[in-house]
């Protein structure tokens, strides 16, 4: 071991310097941990001020903050007694221009106070590029004694404090945001529950994202606690089919036109208008579907629609009437021509004109019926009669018969007398039977079965034809609806028959249902309440029905 | 601004810079007219030389004659003649031209 070449004095002072540097860095580390540990801005400033005060051995501190308007620096807080040392003199306050100078310099500086021996160290807090505050430390020793290390340590602590304040502000901002999101959420829930419409929001898989009280009530969902559940098992079968169709349409087209769905609540039927549109996120990516339910029974919308419908019906009625007049003339002249001597060819042509004229008249009658049904002006001529006889009369009509089909009737002997519009119900039966013939092109057996159960008359017309798919069954009774497809392409028809059938059945207080399986055949059943007397309520004021 | 030995400084001259003693203490501020009295005190403080303002010379290097905006614009155009294709240089040119435009 050789002797250290350094003189002992130098070695001692160097060791001393190292030890001191170590102490200062330990101090700075400890305090910056403390500063960073503080959660609120005020605590951070307090920890920073305390650390800075100890570092320079200062007696008192002042802390200046920019006023809220971003204007001048305002004294925010003082600690320690700066007057004792100064024997009663009022404490030094940095002039405005000094504070602004420090704010511009953005680094700690020691500046003179009132006298040569009075110095103060000013440390700016630069948060996010802006000087948000200035700490003023009374410097106890002479200004010349301040060491570079002290200034650097102050700068370091100020940067730590600034970073901590920034983090605290960010935290506070996040907290605010979360609070606001909570508020917004309950605000939204309140709005949703206050809307008279039902709102149901589902994701692309049909799981409920949001539902308000009214939607739950209209769909007869007992609890609002259904978020995340698929909506389909929660609603009645009839509604499910309708909603599924609306949902599918929305996914495909982006929206679904409002349509009427009837729901049943405690035995009462409610017409509900259901509209829907696709929900997209900020990136325009579809993530769900919002369904809006409007109770149509009492809404003014109903009146509006009724008026619109009235206008349409009036229009149809007028046009039909105007069409019928010339047609009647055509038929009359046809007859007149037929009464004169004609060649067989001419007679054949006149026959065609007459038949086509009849078809037009039928079509116009159908249109008139539909418009009457829709406007609720379909008047029933109610008379007591036997439905069995009606069926027999219809089945005797030669135009319903074909070579390939065998039509037979099952008519119980003990059918009660009941009141109904003979001609209208005849129309219904003709419709159903001719449909059965038309849609069983391969021929086969067609059965018309009458029965009475639970006070209702049921007239079932069964064929073994092409059948109707489930999707088509939903729209079957709409006007002008015809089952598409190659199998039906050859079948003539206006698409009004079933709509009229349904309208007539409903005007009687009844309904029409269909049960069908593609390829196996269909059963159309008209269900009418058995009524013995002429109802007192005028049939003309019956509630119009849609769909 | 010459540093003049104190023996050659005569009363009436002005200091071009603050005069300080060996300890860094300010004795005379800049721009002060040196009186015989002050010179005596400076000698007593063992000041050896003083920065003196030569008459007619402005005390600082601040430009005294404002440039003609048209000349400035012409010089700017010339400087950027080949450089302004670059979008950054174009932006720099625009900013500089706008300043000249405001002064004109």
């Amino acid at each position: 071991m050789s002797e250290q070449p350094q003189p002992p004095e130098a070695a001692k002072s160097e060791a001393e310097a190292l030890r001191h540097a170590y102490e200062v860095s330990r101090f700075v580390q400890d305090r910056s941990r403390e500063i960073r540990g503080a959660k609120a801005s005020a605590d951070i400033v307090r920890a920073f001020a305390e650390a800075a005060r100890e570092l320079v051995g200062s007696g008192g501190t002042q802390f200046y903050l920019r006023d809220a308007a971003g204007g001048s620096m305002v004294l925010h807080k003082t600690t320690g007694d700066t007057t004792i040392r100064r024997l009663g003199a009022s404490p030094w306050r940095p002039p405005k221009d000094m504070l602004e100078w420090i704010a511009k310099e953005r680094r700690p500086a020691t500046v003179p106070g009132d006298s040569e021996r009075d110095w103060h160290t000013l440390v700016p807090l630069v948060v996010a590029g802006e000087v948000s505050g200035i700490l003023v430390l009374d410097l106890p020793q002479g200004a010349g004694e301040i060491a570079q290390q002290t200034v650097e340590a102050l700068s370091f602590l100020a940067e730590e404090a600034a970073a901590a304040i920034l983090a605290a502000e960010e935290r506070a901002r996040l907290d605010d945001e979360l609070g606001r999101i909570d508020m917004e959420r309950s605000f939204l829930a309140n709005i949703l529950d206050s809307i008279t419409n039902g709102i149901l929001v589902v994701d692309l898989d049909g799981r409920i994202l949001q539902i308000n009280r009214n939607a739950a009530a209209m769909l007869d969902i007992p609890s609002l606690d259904v978020l995340g559940q698929p909506f389909e098992p929660l609603v009645s079968e009839h509604v499910r089919v309708e909603l599924r169709a609306i949902f599918d349409e929305t996914l495909q087209a982006g929206f679904a036109m409002e349509r009427l769905v009837t729901t049943r609540l405690g035995g009462t039927e409610f017409p509900i208008a259901v509209g829907s549109s696709l929900l997209r996120d900020d990136a325009l990516q579809a993530f769900g579907c919002i369904l809006v339910f409007r109770d149509m029974t009492a809404s003014r919308e109903m009146d509006r629609l009724r008026k619109l419908d009235q206008m349409k019906s009036d229009f149809v009625a007028n046009v039909s009437h105007e069409l019928r007049t010339p047609l009647t003339s055509i038929k009359a002249y046809c007859e007149a021509l037929a009464g004169m001597p004609r060649t067989p060819k001419e007679m054949e042509f006149l026959q065609v004109i007459d038949e086509e004229g009849d078809r037009l008249i039928e079509l116009i009658e159908d249109l008139l019926d539909v418009s009457r049904i829709q406007s609720g002006t379909l008047r029933l001529n109610l008379e007591a009669g036997n439905p069995g006889e009606l069926v027999r009369e219809v089945l005797a009509m030669p135009k319903l018969h074909s070579d390939q089909h065998r039509i037979h009737a099952n008519i119980p002997a003990d059918l009660p007398e009941m009141v109904f519009d003979w001609n209208r119900m005849k129309e219904v039966l003709i419709n159903l039977v001719s449909n059965a013939v038309k849609y069983s092109p391969e021929g086969g057996e067609i059965a018309v079965t009458l029965s009475v159960a639970e006070g209702n008359l049921r007239i079932a017309v069964e064929d073994h034809g092409i059948g109707i798919s489930a999707a088509d069954q939903a729209s079957l009774f709409q006007q002008f609806f015809r089952v598409d497809g190659s199998l039906t392409a050859k079948v003539a028809g206006t698409g009004l028959g079933l709509a009229i059938t349904k309208g007539i059945a409903e005007a009687h207080g009844g309904t029409v249902t269909v049960r069908s399986e593609p390829g196996k055949g269909s059963v159309f059943t008209v269900i009418l309440p058995v009524r013995k007397e002429v109802p007192r309520v005028e049939a003309g004021t019956a509630q119009p029905k849609f769909g | 601004m010459p540093l003049i030995p104190i023996e050659k400084v005569s009363p009436g001259m002005r200091t071009a810079a603050p005069v300080v003693d060996g300890g860094g203490m300010l004795l005379v501020r800049e721009g002060a007219e040196l009186t015989p009295d002050i010179l005596e005190r400076l000698r007593a403080r063992k000041v050896s030389a003083i920065d003196i303002v030569i008459s007619g010379q402005p005390p600082s290097g601040v430009r005294t004659t404002p440039a003609d905006p048209a000349a400035l614009k012409a010089a700017l155009d010339h400087a950027f003649e080949k450089a302004a294709q670059h979008p950054v240089m174009k932006a720099l040119y625009d900013a500089a031209a706008a300043r000249i435009g405001r002064k004109a």
């Binding site: 310097a17 100078w101 060491a147 570079q148 | 603050p18 290097g61 500089a96």
Partner: protein, 291 residues
Amino acid sequence: MSTPAAPGADRLKRVVDRIQGLPTLPAMLSSINRLMANPRTSAKEIAQLISSDPAITSKVLRVVNSSFYGFPNRISTVTHAIVILGFNTIRSVVLSTSIFDALRKTAPAQGFDRTAFWRHSIGVGSLSRVVARHLGFTSLEEFFIAGLLHDIGKVALDSYLPEEFAKVVARVREADVTMLEAEEAVLGVTHADVGGWLLQKWSLSQALVDAVARHHNPSLAGENMKTAAVVHLSDLIARALQIGSGGDRRMPPLSDEGWSALGVSTEAFPALLAEGAEEAERAMVFLEFAR
């Protein structure tokens, strides 16, 4: 000239080998550096060192009381200057005044306007400060010094290789090219190379050496690329503002790599130009030391 092109370092050596009698920086600078290496050094100790040179002391007080530093009250002693403005500021003031001092005594060549040159240098120094502040740097004094000294090679060439430098100046005037192009053509080395070499000889920091040597090509400044890019951009801005003149009338090309390294937006130009022009005007106090 029929000599074949030699690698840059060789060419630089051939040029600077002919520079004789280069001034040295005052010993005080290395003493300040040594003192500041010890963190416990007090303001008083450094003040004592500076005050031992009355010429530097008076200049320091002149500068610290100028509007460039803008301190609201008068600063009457070096100790106070250090305490108020900080250790680094005073070191850079001493450094810049010493360099001006070291170079001002040499006789300027014909056709090279030293006053315009120093105005340009002070302008680039001020703009470097402004750009660095805009980028969030804290050691603004170093940027000021780097900008101030970026063209120091021109003074060195002008002072110590006057004949060659006169040819460069003549070529700039005749061909209307940049100093850089003329130097490449006439000397095969540039003022940036010479400046870097000089600062290295004066034992200044590597960041300063790189910033000066690469202020036309920051891509080559390695880890000091950003500093060099700040000076590079500041040079262009000072030229656009026409603060003084570096000796030519053309804009040197922008370094795309340097530009993208800084991440400055061109939208910042109006503000940078306004701030830079104002700060440069205040910094012209340094001009006195160059006379």
